[in-house]
């Protein structure tokens, strides 16, 4: 079957090449049938890549180690769920996933625009085909997912233990969907520039794709943070790591794009800005994909060095140069048709919000690539750490959250200072009361930055609540509906607006968690013997007993051995049992001995998190198994040739030895206030974005069309 899979990729590459040529020729010649043919080539490409993915997935599921990829990324004892998702843990598989998602997204947008945007679609098709072609070229020529081994091993290496986490398995497709999704508005922007059709048509056709891409990217970033928090064993969710930053940068520029396109749609302004933003977002998406695997920057998330770095850099350089040249070439066509009516207008605040988002992206870009920049300039690699990022990002984040609050209160075109004062009264009062309560009624004053963020969060939530209240009141006046009905109608009929506000509320809630956990977390690193106690965040925590499990991995990751600790935590009447542990995965070779390899392979932290709205109690343990080394070496000498059952018994006996006489273990305990609100806020943000992207029912749209057209008719007939 590997031959068929490879054939799918090769013919897919031919489809992409044909779609690019046919699209451009159709656009230049005006012969529509070539554009239709190019679109059909994309449908075929999607079908072929679905076939290729299905063949590869089947190989993973049946542990067919004839496939190099399966031998390197899976094993017979890898749980089925992780076998299914192991494909994108590999470089080749993730490239195939990229191409697959792009072909599906492209087919969808080309189908939806088959009867519109006649000038733009031929070139957009060509751009999408070139991008898909690049990824397919990589998989056909340099890193084929269907490479076969001449002598397949009996057992595979298994999936990287760090990746055996549910969030990590969903995280890559989410991120890639985000990255790929931004290719759609990018391609249409290029088409618009080529054909000088730089009005809002291309934006209207692709806005929903950009929003879906943004939503998936947000969900992917959140899942990555959750994985970091619960799997990496350091206790944080964001380390300003290059790979984390690489996903955040396109999200920030994508956020700016989603706001500024509204200005172009409504006012015909910011055309050059919008095409530049989407080009930037797509380029950053490509860089995000590249950074995960390139190994050019040290990262806790980078898995294996890439062999396709040069090809990626050449492609990114072509996209950068091409985008810049195209925008500069079309600058005369990109002049705004309107001017800013007032600085007190929504478009002015959107512009400000764009500048802040871009500043954030630039700061993060500089900090992320500083090691490369410093090496190029000084010859020595230096990097900036989290404090550098926090010093620059925190004030910008405060301004951003403030703008998140003010933006929705201001009308398009202009608002009078008196009008703005009127809508500001209640939210400002809420923020002031919050500040007073925090400073006078708690010890939050130790971090004024956190207090400022809490006040701004209260400000945003008050604004969103006020907007809902005032909107529902206005609707009640217009229609006489009861409150619940008025509120649901208001949201249902203005999904884009209120979905956006929900996303703002989600961001505010998320920042509440970030501020609380960053400023007030208590971390302790201790070495404890059984019976020892310590205090963390008001909890009295005692190391009760050691845990040693063989073949009983409760997280379902397939780890054969797990050592840990049972702790009891008491705070007043509250009582919790905590069981942090560390999973041990066997080393691939036999160099460490038949028994020793089970203890000397990779190990991962299985942290215990007691989630709570007020705060989490997070614990991790690093057992000291050096005392077992003597027994392990002796077992290796005596039972080197033993079969699996005997080895199992010996490993169980060694585990029992740890349970009977455990040496002191190292613990990390973190009491992290409000951290759960990060995930809750992220969820609200994603739901809000989905609400904004959800299309209005056709019947309702027809009624609205009829109503407005009739009103315009009255204008005309009365004139």
């Amino acid at each position: 079957m590997s031959g068929i899979g490879a054939a799918c990729l090769f013919v897919g590459l031919l489809c992409a090449a044909y779609a690019a040529i046919s699209g451009v020729y159709g656009g230049l010649s005006g012969r529509r049938q070539f554009v239709v043919s190019a679109r059909r080539a994309f449908y075929c490409l999607a079908a072929l890549l679905i076939g290729a993915t299905a063949i590869l997935q089947a190989a993973f599921l049946r542990s067919d180690f004839g496939y190099r990829l399966v031998a390197e990324g899976s094993s017979t004892d890898t749980p089925t769920f992780y076998k299914v998702t192991a494909m994108w843990a590999t470089q080749e598989g993730s490239l195939l996933l990229w191409a697959l998602l792009l072909s599906i997204f492209s087919s969808a947008v080309l189908f939806l625009t088959r009867d519109s945007l006649r000038a733009i679609t031929p070139y957009a098709t060509a751009v999408l085909a070139v991008v898909a072609g690049f990824f397919l070229l990589l998989t056909v020529v340099w890193v084929s997912p269907f490479d076969q081994l001449v002598q397949p091993p009996v057992e595979g290496s298994g999936l990287n233990p760090l990746l055996r986490h549910p969030a990590m398995m969903i995280h890559p497709p989410m991120l890639y969907t985000g990255y790929v999704g931004f290719a759609i508005p990018f391609a249409f922007a290029v088409g618009a520039l080529v054909t000088r059709s730089v009005g809002a048509d291309w934006i209207r056709a692709t806005r929903r794709f950009a929003l879906i891409a943004w939503t998936f990217l947000a969900a992917g970033i959140m899942l990555g943070a959750l994985w970091s928090y619960t799997e990496l064993g350091w206790g944080g969710y964001w380390a300003w790591d290059p790979v984390e930053n690489a996903s955040l940068m396109p999200w920030l520029t994508g956020t700016a794009f989603l706001h500024s396109i509204m200005v172009q749609e409504k006012r015909g302004m910011l055309k050059a800005w919008n095409v530049s933003l989407i080009c930037m977002t797509f380029i950053l998406s490509l860089m995000g994909t590249f950074l995960v695997r390139s190994g050019i920057l040290e990262s806790i998330h980078a898995f294996g060095a890439s062999t396709i770095g040069t090809q990626f850099l050449i492609f990114i350089a072509i996209v950068v140069l091409g985008s810049v040249a195209l925008v500069v070439w079309r600058l005369p066509d990109l002049r705004s048709t309107a001017r800013l009516d007032s600085l007190l207008s929504r478009e002015a605040f959107f512009l400000l919000n764009n500048l802040v988002l871009l500043a954030l992206a630039l700061v993060i870009f500089w900090g992320t690539f500083f090691p490369l920049i410093s090496e190029a300039v000084t010859g020595t690699e230096a990097s900036v750490g989290p404090p550098w990022f926090e010093r620059l990002v925190t004030p910008l984040a405060l301004v951003l959250v403030a703008l998140t609050a003010v933006g929705p209160m201001v009308a398009w075109r202009r608002v009078t200072p008196a009008g703005l004062r009127k809508v500001l009264v209640i939210p400002v009062a809420v923020a002031a009361v919050t500040a007073g309560a925090l400073l006078l009624g708690s010890d939050a004053g130790s971090s004024l930055t956190a207090v400022a963020m809490f006040c701004l969060v209260a400000f945003v939530l008050a604004v969103v609540t006020q907007e809902l209240w005032r909107g529902a009141s206005a609707r009640r006046v217009m229609t006489g509906e009861a409150w619940p009905r008025a509120l649901s109608s208001l949201i249902g009929r203005n999904r884009r607006r209120y979905g956006g506000y929900a996303a703002h509320a989600g961001l505010a809630v998320l920042m509440l968690g970030v501020a609380g956990s960053s400023a007030f977390a208590e971390q302790q690193d201790l070495r404890l013997a059984v019976g020892d106690s310590f205090r963390s965040g008001g909890w009295e925590i005692t190391y009760d007993r050691p845990i040693a499990r063989v073949g009983d991995d409760r997280a379902g990751t397939g780890a054969p051995i797990s050592f840990g600790a049972q702790l009891t935590a008491r705070r007043g009447d509250e009582f919790r049992t905590l069981r942090p542990s560390r999973n041990y995965y066997p080393a691939a070779g036999m160099e460490e001995g038949a028994i020793g390899r089970y203890f000397e392979g990779e190990a991962t932290s299985e942290v215990d998190v007691r989630w709570g709205l007020g705060g989490d109690l997070w614990t991790a343990v690093r057992p000291d198994i050096s005392s077992l080394r003597g027994s392990i070496e002796e077992a290796d000498r005596k039972f080197a040739e033993s079969d699996g059952d005997v080895r199992g018994l010996i490993i169980t006996a060694i585990a029992e030895q740890y349970r009977r006489s455990p040496p002191p273990a190292s613990f990390r305990a973190i009491s992290s206030p409000l951290v759960s609100w990060i995930w809750i806020g992220g969820g609200i943000l994603v739901l809000g974005a989905l609400l904004a992207a959800w299309p209005a029912p056709q019947a309702r749209m027809r009624r609205a069309r009829s109503l407005y057209r009739a009103r315009l008719g009255r204008d005309l007939t009365g004139a």
Partner: protein
């Protein structure tokens, strides 16, 4: 062998699907259809802007005078779109809008 055979079969299947529009020739009989779709999208967008301005007025974000100015500008833009849209059908904007007005007056809310 498996690879070569699969490539031949896939190329043949793809060619059947992809080349069909070329063999069938240019059957694009609705050149105005695309323009209509673009104008329909622009119209929806303009209606949404009118609705947004109304909501802003109702919520007190816009003064009555500002709303009047913005609304008349938006309506003028919407009428331009309607004119072009109806021009595609050979109708005048006034006739088309008047037709809709008449339909609404007779309670036909789903027209348009």
């Amino acid at each position: 062998m498996e690879y070569a055979l699969a490539v031949i079969v896939f190329v043949a299947l793809v060619a059947l699907v992809v080349l069909r529009p070329l063999v069938a020739g240019n059957q694009d009989q609705a050149a105005t259809q695309a323009r209509r779709a673009d104008l329909e999208a622009a119209k929806e967008s303009k209606y949404r802007e009118i609705r947004d301005a109304e909501l802003d007025l109702g919520m007190g974000k816009l003064s009555r005078a500002d709303h009047r100015a913005i609304d008349s500008e938006l309506r003028a833009e919407a009428i331009e779109i309607l004119r072009e849209l109806d021009g595609l059908d050979g109708l005048s904007a006034e006739a088309a809008a008047g037709r809709d007005h008449a339909r609404r007056a007779h309670g036909d809310e789903s027209a348009g």
